[in-house]
């Protein structure tokens, strides 16, 4: 005769509710409950406020799943062992697949850099490098706008002087700095290699600030430029031939990967996606990369990144520092791009509207749209969008080079 009481008792003991009442709270479980609240706030921002919903929705839900008591979808301990030299599970994906939960398996794609690279392939397939090719000088603005990356890196190290509790190691500082590149896949790529324990905080900060670009950038655009400069109309650039657009991704891949081999995965995938788009004979592949593949990888990436937001990792003073340093990085990158724009305006005798400089922070195409909108406020007949797209896509290349540099120094 089966004992119904025992079955029900076992069911209760294996439930998350039982975990909540049996020492869970004393073992730091309150942090998981706080994280559940945070995940709901992030879901609200994604679904109601439309803050990068395609990514933030998955991140928030991954955070919710990983903090459920007793669910065992993601194990922080497994990944700590995976990274501990000398441990039997050191760099053993077999152990992860054997003992890990569903989100651990999702996370393998982040750890191996597969997802950021595939996302970059999709970005490449959706990017038109024509404006950059017609005005190669706009590449300089993409470089100038990486100021925030290195300033935030320096700031993160400098925090150690105030208190080691809120300070960071060099690898952590490099991962925080890349938030200033305003490029989600690059930030995830670098952080997963240098400071995986900060991945959740850095990804949330990067994507949240990217969604806030229309609010973060305009005050600084107005502060650093005069109304006359904002009214500058730029002349139409030359037409770019199809052949030039096909050769470009091949040349960039060869050139950048030879210069900084650590950027090869990111730049290679970005340019492969672009080649699919431009060559005209791989329309099916281009369509798949832009839509189906991009959507699938976005789901896996966002959920896996959200899974790293375990209470004990996330609820620290360091997270607060990352939030503050992240916004500083964004602001300083905007300032760097604008200063570059002002220099170009001066050197060209007022032919370049400095507002396009702020688009150098990457965040395609949001930052270019902001340049266009601010320009049109002062001259409704001024259409800066295509001119701003040059620095905007240059920013993607610039942030990949910055990431490559940091990886080669600290990796």
């Amino acid at each position: 005769m089966i004992n119904v009481g025992d079955i029900l008792l076992n069911l209760w003991n294996s439930s998350g509710f039982a975990a909540l009442f049996s020492g869970f709270m004393a073992q730091g479980g309150w942090q998981n409950l706080v994280m559940l609240v945070i995940s709901c706030v992030l879901l609200y921002l994604a679904l109601v406020k439309k803050f990068e919903p395609l990514l933030l929705c998955g991140i928030a839900f991954g955070c919710l799943l990983t903090n459920l008591p007793g669910a065992g979808l993601y194990s922080q301990e497994l990944w700590t062992n995976f990274m501990t030299e000398g441990h039997e599970a050191y760099h053993s994906y077999g152990t992860i697949l054997k003992e890990g939960g569903l989100l651990d398996i999702f996370y393998v794609g982040v750890k191996t850099s597969l997802y950021p690279c595939l996302i970059f392939m999709g970005v490449g397939a959706m990017t038109d490098f024509g404006p950059l090719l017609s005005n190669p000088k706009s590449l300089l603005l993409g470089a100038a706008a990486q100021l925030g990356v290195f300033a935030a890196f320096f700031g993160a190290i400098a925090l150690n002087l105030i208190s080691p509790e809120i300070g960071f190691t060099s690898k952590e500082a490099a991962s925080i700095g890349i938030i200033g590149g305003a490029d989600g896949p690059t930030a995830i790529f670098l952080t997963s290699k240098l400071a995986p324990h900060l991945l959740g905080a850095i990804a949330v900060a990067a994507y949240s600030y990217m969604a806030l670009i229309p609010m973060i950038q305009p005050p600084f655009m107005k502060l650093l430029t005069t109304p006359e400069q904002r009214k500058i109309k730029m002349v139409q650039t030359r037409n770019v031939s199809k052949a030039e657009k096909i050769v470009f991704p091949i040349v960039v891949t060869l050139f950048v990967a030879l210069l900084l081999p650590d950027t090869a995965p990111l730049i290679g995938c970005l340019m492969l996606g672009n080649l699919f788009k431009e060559c005209g004979v791989t329309d099916r592949l281009s369509d798949t990369v832009q839509n189906a593949l991009m959507n699938i990888v976005t789901i896996l990436l966002s959920t896996a990144v959200g899974a790293t937001m375990v209470g004990s990792n996330f609820l620290t003073l360091q997270t607060l520092s990352i939030v503050v340093l992240g916004v500083c990085a964004f602001v300083l990158s905007t300032v760097g791009g604008l200063l570059g724009g002002l220099v170009m305006c001066k050197l060209t005798g007022g032919k370049v509207n400095p507002l396009i400089g702020s688009a150098g922070v990457s965040a395609v195409p949001m930052a270019a749209r902001v340049s266009n909108l601010v320009g049109q406020k002062y001259n409704p007949a001024n259409f800066l969008l295509m001119h701003a797209m040059g620095p905007n896509v240059a920013g993607v290349i610039g942030s990949a080079i910055a990431a490559g540099f940091l990886l080669s120094v600290f990796g």
Binding site: P136, L140, F150, F153, V240, Q376, G398, F405
Partner: protein, 114 residues
């Protein structure tokens, strides 16, 4: 001093040097890339001009028929490879963006940039 094996906790001076070096590296890479793109552009433009020069100039055609004027523009607007429906839409967008009534704007010509 910077070494090949950097410490976990970087002294502030070294952090400053790495930050400057990193920013300079980004500029260096981007400037080199810019030069390559410029050279590439020049080569393509030269090749295109050569191709154009190789094509014999067409015989002078008889008096070219005047372009049809778009309706509703007092006969001033010339459309080049643009349908009147598309032109109307473009004019409406421009007027809306400029916040001015359409009849106060003067459009000279609309041409598709290929």
């Amino acid at each position: 001093m910077l070494t090949s094996k950097l410490p976990e906790l970087l002294p502030i001076g070294d952090a400053g040097i790495i930050a400057l070096l990193g920013y300079a590296t980004v500029f260096f890479g981007i400037i080199l890339l810019m030069v390559v793109v410029m050279i590439m552009g020049k080569l393509f433009i030269a090749a295109e001009n050569k191709k154009k020069a190789a094509i014999p100039a067409p015989a002078p055609a008889a008096e070219e028929a005047p372009k049809a004027a778009a309706p509703g523009t007092a006969g001033q607007l010339k459309l080049h490879d643009v349908e009147s429906k598309t032109a109307a839409m473009l004019m409406a967008i421009v007027a809306d963006k400029m916040g001015k009534p359409l009849n106060e704007l003067r459009f000279i010509s609309i041409k598709e940039v290929k």
